[in-house]
Symmetry: C2
Subunit: 189 residues, 2 copies
DNA sequence: TGTACATCAGTGAACGCGCGTTCACTGATGTAC
DNA sequence: TGTACATCAGTGAACGCGCGTTCACTGATGTAC
């Protein structure tokens, strides 16, 4: 034997963490294997002991949702969370803190737009994330028959679009106004 | 004299048209000077007689909004358009036809996300588009003091986010559901 | 417990390729006579 | 009206560079004895 399987697994995770960070900071097309391996404290050649291609890594790195984690964070508490708590999560999501920390932010918002042109594997992962988040969100809205799942999708579009717009715009005042407008729209649920 | 100034202007426009198309189809980072010049019926070297760099071209090509054109299309008619007409425009914007024709679609939706990482010139153009569209939209909503401009921003976030999500997702049914959900949210204004 | 060995995660030079940009050129054009 | 000329939009080969991937290697590791 050379190294333990656990050692390899740990390295793989380090590469993935580095990739998630860099991909969010510099976009799906803007990160080189070189830089992301350096970010994990390794050199380029070693990459292919863990992933068969960059496309595979990108798909693997995408599989991580901040929003989903957020929503489920307190789920194990036992009692179902009240609707206003869900609202609070959404408003935190639409906050300037999240906007200014893309490296640890929600990939749904960061990679929207880019994902359309990404490799099929990456799109498939992204699509699943959308479904999971929409389902989780729908389960936390006030129940009005099947309207709930449609509302969840609209809310997702609003928060993802609002965050992406707020990040894209080159004007802090406008960016703040966009986030505030979306928070207000959410509170009128 | 060599060619007439009008000839040069026409060529410049041809390059811009080709660029807009390719940029929308393949993203801000996915288009080569080579391919976009070929799309305009020219070869790479000629590019620099019209633009000083690719960044400059991208910024120039971004300056074009389908939504703004839509909203203003009937403005010269004289009578102010009723609110329900604006709603109809927004619902057409959120339609599958628009989704499936990105090459001629609204750059606000297509380039959201990508624009965060683009060159400063491009971000500035994009920011101005957002401001223009938001203002135009606010002027067409029912007037409730200053809430109107906030509402316009939220609507913009919703339709841009909805279109981007609908395009990003790898599942036609889900994509249709997202668009329908956003249209419904709009009709509840 | 100590040593010799086989494994394979990780190294770093090298590859072929496409990119943005440069540059010496060419040839269609409008002007001067 | 016809011809010689100067201009410069457009050509296409060439450049330097960074990329994803390959590959011969090395050296830290766990195992067998």
């Amino acid at each position: 034997m050379s190294y333990s399987p656990a050692h390899k697994e740990r390295t793989r995770r380090r590469i993935l963490e580095s990739a998630r960070r860099f991909l969010k900071e510099q976009g799906l097309g803007g990160v080189s294997v070189d830089s992301l391996m350096a970010g994990a404290g390794l050199t380029r050649g070693g990459f292919y002991a863990h992933f068969s291609s960059k496309d595979e890594l990108v798909a693997a790195a995408l599989d991580d949702t901040v929003l989903l984690g957020f929503l489920q964070k307190h789920k194990s508490g036992g009692t179902p969370e009240p609707v206003h708590w869900t609202r609070a999560v959404l408003e935190e999501y639409l906050g300037p803190l999240h906007r200014d920390q893309p490296a640890t932010g929600c990939p749904l918002a960061i990679h929207v737009g880019e994902i359309t042109l990404a490799a099929p594997q990456a799109r498939a992962v992204y699509t699943n994330l959308v479904k999971e988040v929409a389902t989780e969100l729908a389960g936390r809205l006030p129940r009005n028959a099947q309207k709930t799942s449609s509302e969840a999708l609209a809310i997702l579009a609003l928060i993802v679009g609002g965050m992406a717009l707020a990040r894209g715009v080159n004007d802090t005042e406008l960016s703040d106004a966009i986030l505030a407008a979306c928070r207000e729209a959410i509170s009128d649920l």
